[in-house]
């Protein structure tokens, strides 16, 4: 759109989002290539990168909105929507598949009532396909809320998931 056309009023950021943005920019705005670490700060603080932060990020780093969007969507790590409370990442690479990852994935989907690549509607679980966790010698491997686990079989998976507290009833309403 042309420069002087009235622009749609930007979605206001929440106080937490504003604070995270300020923190990210305070640390990284002056650094060459500071966009990536700033995105990490945002995601670490908020769990995702709110799309409403795009214009401020673009302006701070002298980039266009499109460029920031390109970076965010290039890396699967970056999310544009709030994450679920818990995240299970299951390795789908060749080595883990050879060691039973497919069956393990099926079991995880059944246990959590959630399809791979999706977030459960109560937002309690999300199930992610991961290409490699660097544990090829001891697959199948998974990552539960940021912690790696190797040589996971059906029993261990059940135990790991059972150790995660179930959501209080009101959270699904």
């Amino acid at each position: 759109m042309t420069a002087s056309a009235p622009s749609p009023s930007p979605t206001p950021l929440s106080p937490a989002e504003t604070q995270a943005l300020d923190q990210a920019l305070a640390h990284w705005q002056a650094e060459p290539g500071g966009l990536l670490p700033a995105l990490h700060v945002l995601q670490d603080e908020l769990g995702f990168i709110p799309p409403a932060t795009l214009p401020a990020l673009a302006q701070a780093f002298g980039l266009s909105r499109a460029e920031v969007h390109g970076v965010i969507t290039y890396y699967h790590h970056f999310r544009q929507t709030p994450p679920a409370h818990h995240c299970l990442g299951l390795c789908q690479a060749e080595a883990c598949q050879a060691r039973g990852a497919r069956a393990l994935t099926q079991q995880a989907q059944d246990l959590l009532q959630c399809t791979l690549g999706h977030t459960r509607s109560d937002h309690h679980w999300q199930l992610e396909a991961v290409s490699c966790l660097g544990l090829c010698a001891s697959g199948p491997a998974l990552m539960l809320d940021g912690t790696l686990h190797a040589q996971v079989d059906a029993q261990r998976l059940q135990a790991l998931l059972a150790a995660v507290p179930t959501p209080p009833m009101e959270s699904s309403s």
């Binding site: 302006q59 002298g62 499109a66 290039y74």
Partner: protein, 970 residues
């Protein structure tokens, strides 16, 4: 007569990668043929130079090589693998094979993958016949598809038709990145990216938004770069591929882009910027590329019309009747009120030949010098200021010169909106590392944007330009930043010494002017140091410099600055006015001013006058005629009663609308020649339907002094080109003109104008374009001015005392209004408002700082009254931090906005150029339109009814009321 009318459609040769600038050469063998190319040339380009070509999809010579499509692989003897020829530079002794069995297999494999995710609807596709994917599939000879079409694909992705001029169909996209790179490298907007990765990779406007919601400025570079039908013009979708092409010149801004009009019969299918065009080098903007539909808009006036009074209905008559009537009226007025009772106004949108003819008509047939032009209201101070200091009334450089600038200072200009193609070239240089100083009350896009940030934005108060430039001069002379050897060699020493003493005065110090300009002293000092010491420093300026009470003073101040630092006379430096209209340079060159013959020679100069008298066979007047504002004043005092106005809309574009309207209403015969019934035509007695740039031959001269050919692509829709109408008018007045083609008019111009002496259509056809002076010493023109000496001999420093404008803020009018343009609209909007460009800018708004808005209880989108001592109008408010508090801004593209109802008749001391850029106003929330606007709406409705032959009976009855509302609104 014309040597290049229709040529068969041949796509320009694509070398695949840009030319290498190296002066060293390397010799290599490609497919057994020896070829010598500049070092750094890609193998792909070398192959084209050797006479062959290598298959490619992601490469094109307007973009840097990317190496993603994997179709251009080659074999190099002694090297393993298959390097991409676009990213591999040629080396001496290389032996390259572009074809082999293995390469064929690889290319077919790649093509097979592309086509497995591409619809096979070639025969009904908009790009059928103009598709590189189709061409490459043919070249690599793919015959079998092993993968089928059942796998995951993008074929169901929905098309984005949000842009009015082109569509984006992701199902046809091969993700070659050419569009993204064109947006970045050529246009510099960065509106596009690739979102996702791997199979999910898609071209994404903004954050996966529709094009119209992204930052896209609709320049069309992406459409031109697209090798498939993914991005394609809607006109091509509607009409099919063009069948012939004609080279011509854009009729919008002063950049003067060269275009190929791609035609089907007399129908334009699309306008494509010409790669070899020196002003634009293959780039275009939304106006030039897309906004030409006005030529066939239903509002086009196609019949001559007359009426006795402006309250009478229009009567369609023959050309002979209309022109005969106008001639009789002019003779009657001159007989009754004297020779000086009539005059003419030439247009900066018409050709050089047409403008020349209007001034000839006035001087030879009217017998006076009452000719003026719309340049009066834009760049007349440029003509005066640069003429006085350097000796020539024009910019000093080519646009290409910006590629060698190290420091760029942009003063009172907004190139990315008003001169977009030059703006893109400037931004490209900034991305390569040039430093930038912006002097503007408003935060224009150049001041801060993707990959562009001004080192200094001197955000001064409107009306304080001269104070600021004097402070910069002060820093130069007091901090020892003067280029003394340049001054000693090139400038008048006495004038310099006087100027140095003036500049050093304490009242010119940055500290002294900080308060009045609103710019901190340290910023002025730092910016001046950068300008003086940063290497090649170039100044580009616009109407923010000229349209002031001290417009000429500021131009002189700029000229002083460039001389003092030696930034004149070589590539990468200079003083460059960005001229507003397509031919405003030309209309000035052609003698449109009342005091000057073509080539800026004063009418009192006897030698010149005798030359014209002999050639034209008439006695000419030695005294200057009336300027536009004088014509209005004389009309109101009953001495000026007949006006021939070619292609200018004074009612909308001149300041103090109510004064203009009163003057026109006082005239007895206003003849308007235009393609639309513009606002001025509503006060006319004779209407002569003009022709658009597509309908005639001629030349335009752009801001670089570049003379370019305009070529007729369709016959004049109303039957006559504008030069033919002027000629007929002259003949009817009894002064004979017998040109049969505009080239004969150019021959006459060349004969009578030293700086044009070698210009001819034959030369232009051969050279493409030439920059004046074009004479015996410069037979193919002069790209760079003042190289070894100034045109006037020694450069002249002149004093530039700051005199505050009379237009001051008061308690009653506490804000300053400044005016400008927007990208999608052009000037009074007569053309662009009759195109889809209105989607981008449907109305003028008042930009106001949130602080000023809050004080007045104004919210986004509110109706606000804007009142000055001249008048009042009502606009919608747009809250914007581009403005500084205390300053408001609007555009004047829509007549109903009445921006010039508010502007005053203050003007430049030297040239009468109006002070559009400074008006003291008050702004307040209102509920309805202003009294002026109510009157305008009523008058306009009535005039349109008179046009349609309605109200024939009521006309007389309402005459009184209409006249009242038109001329004397409260």
């Amino acid at each position: 007569m014309d040597t290049t009318p229709h040529t068969p459609l041949t796509p320009p040769r694509d070398f695949g990668t840009p030319a290498s600038p190296s002066s060293q050469s390397v010799t290599l063998a490609i497919d057994g043929f020896s070829v010598t190319v500049p070092a750094g040339t890609s193998l792909m380009r070398a192959a084209v130079l050797a006479g062959t070509q290598i298959p490619k999809l992601c490469a094109t010579d307007s973009l840097e090589p990317f190496g993603s499509c994997r179709l251009c692989l080659v074999e190099i003897e002694g090297r393993r693998g298959f390097p991409a020829s676009c990213t591999t530079p040629a080396e001496s002794g290389m032996v390259v094979r572009t074809q082999s069995e293995r390469l064929t297999q690889l290319r077919r494999g790649v093509m097979e993958l592309y086509l497995s995710d591409h619809p096979l609807d070639c025969l009904t596709c908009a790009s059928n016949g103009d598709c590189e994917l189709q061409d490459m599939a043919g070249q690599v000879g793919l015959r079998h598809m092993r993968y089928g079409f059942e796998g995951r694909n993008h074929l169901q992705q929905p098309r984005d038709d949000s842009n009015p001029y082109f569509s984006y169909d992701p199902s046809k996209c091969i993700v070659c990145n050419r569009c993204v790179r064109a947006c970045e490298e050529i246009q510099g907007t960065f509106a596009l990216t690739i979102s996702g990765r791997g199979f999910d990779s898609r071209v994404s406007p903004g954050a996966d938004q529709p094009f119209m919601d992204s930052d896209c400025v609709s320049c069309g570079a992406c459409v031109q770069a697209c090798p498939t039908a993914t991005l394609v013009e809607k006109t091509v979708q509607d009409k099919g591929q063009p069948e012939h092409q004609i080279l011509t010149t854009c009729a919008y801004c002063g950049v003067g882009c060269t275009f190929l009009a791609e035609m089907k019969g007399t129908d334009v299918v699309r306008m494509t910027p010409w790669k070899e065009g020196k002003a634009n080098e293959g780039h275009a903007c939304i106006k030039g590329r897309f906004a030409w539909g006005y030529a066939t808009h239903p509002d086009r006036m196609l019949k001559p019309m007359i009426r006795a009074r402006i309250t009478d209905p229009w009567q369609e008559v023959s050309w002979d009747q209309a022109i005969g009537h106008a001639a009789r009226e002019f003779k009657r007025l001159q007989a009754k009120h004297g020779v000086d009772a009539v005059g003419g106004i030439s247009s900066s949108r018409c050709t050089n030949e047409e403008t020349y003819l209007v001034q000839k008509l006035v001087r030879a047939a009217f017998g006076n010098n009452n000719v003026d032009t719309c340049a009066r209201v834009c760049h007349s101070p440029t003509g005066y200021g640069l003429g006085q200091t350097y000796g020539t009334s024009a910019g000093t450089q080519t646009f290409k010169s910006v590629e060698q600038a190290d420091v760029i200072m942009v003063i009172g200009a907004n190139p990315t909106d008003a001169h977009p193609v030059f703006g893109s070239r400037l931004k490209k240089r900034l991305r390569q590392g040039a430093r930038l100083i912006v002097v503007d009350p408003r935060r224009i896009d150049l001041a801060q944007g993707p990959h562009v940030r001004a080192d200094y934005h001197l955000q001064l108060r409107p009306g304080t330009n001269v104070a600021l430039i004097n402070a910069m001069a002060h820093v130069l002379v007091t901090e020892n930043l003067i280029n003394q050897p340049f001054i000693d060699q090139r400038c008048e020493p006495d004038a310099f010494n006087i100027w140095r003493e003036f500049a050093a005065r304490p009242e010119n110090s940055p500290e002294s002017v900080a308060e009045v300009t609103g710019v901190p002293a340290e910023q002025i000092r730092a910016a001046t140091r950068l300008y003086a010491t940063g290497g090649n420093a170039a100044i580009y300026y616009g109407l923010g410099v000229t349209e002031h009470a001290q417009g000429s003073t500021m131009v002189i101040g700029i000229a002083n600055l460039a001389m003092a630092t030696g930034n004149i006379g070589r590539e990468g430096v200079g003083v460059n006015p960005l001229r507003g209209q397509n031919n405003v340079q030309g209309s000035c060159d052609m003698g449109s001013f009342p005091h000057e013959y073509p080539g800026y020679r004063h009418v009192s100069d006897e030698a010149t006058r005798i030359q014209f008298e002999q050639d034209w066979g008439v006695v000419l007047r030695p005294d200057p005629g009336l300027r536009i504002p004088n014509m209005f004043d004389a009309a109101l005092s009953g001495e000026f009663l007949g006006l021939y106005c070619q292609g200018e809309d004074m009612v909308q574009s001149d300041p103090n609308t109510q004064h203009v309207v009163a003057a026109l209403s006082a005239m007895e015969c206003v003849v308007v020649q235009d393609i639309f019934l513009n606002e001025t035509a509503k006060y006319a007695h004779v209407f002569l339907p003009g022709s658009s740039f597509l309908e005639k031959d001629g030349t335009f001269t752009n801001a670089e002094r570049r003379i370019s050919r305009v070529r007729q692509v369709m016959p004049p829709r109303a039957g006559m080109a504008d030069w033919e109408i002027t000629q007929a008018f002259s003949n009817a007045l009894g002064y004979p003109m017998h040109y049969t083609h505009p080239s004969q008019i150019m021959d006459e111009i060349a004969r009578l104008t030293p700086t044009f002496s070698r210009v001819s259509y034959a030369l232009l056809d051969r050279e493409g374009t030439v920059q004046w002076p074009c004479d015996a010493q410069h037979p193919t023109g002069t790209p760079l001015m003042h190289v070894n000496q100034f045109v006037r001999g020694k450069g002249r420093f002149m004093l530039t005392r700051y005199v505050p404008t009379d237009e001051k803020i008061t308690r009653r009018f506490p804000l300053l209004l400044t005016t400008g343009r927007i990208l999608s609209q052009y000037n009074v909007g007569a053309q662009t408002r009759r195109t889809q460009n209105v989607v981008f800018h449907p109305q003028d708004t008042l930009e106001i700082h949130p602080h000023d808005a809050e004080e007045r209880g104004i919210h986004e989108g509110d109706w606000v009254g804007v009142a000055s001592r001249a008048g009042e109008t009502v606009l919608r408010a747009h809250l914007s931090e581009r403005m500084q508090p205390g300053v408001v801004y609007t555009t004047f593209h829509f007549p109903e906005s009445g921006a010039n109802v508010i502007t005053t008749d203050n003007s430049d001391w030297a040239t009468n150029c109006p002070e559009y850029k400074v008006t003291a106003v008050q702004v307040a929330r209102v509920l309805h339109v202003s009294q002026w606007q109510a009157n305008y709406q009523r008058f306009n409705k009535h005039q349109l009814q008179l046009l349609k032959g309605q109200l024939v009976n009521e006309a007389l009855q309402s005459q009184e009321a209409t006249h009242h509302s038109a001329s004397e609104p409260s």
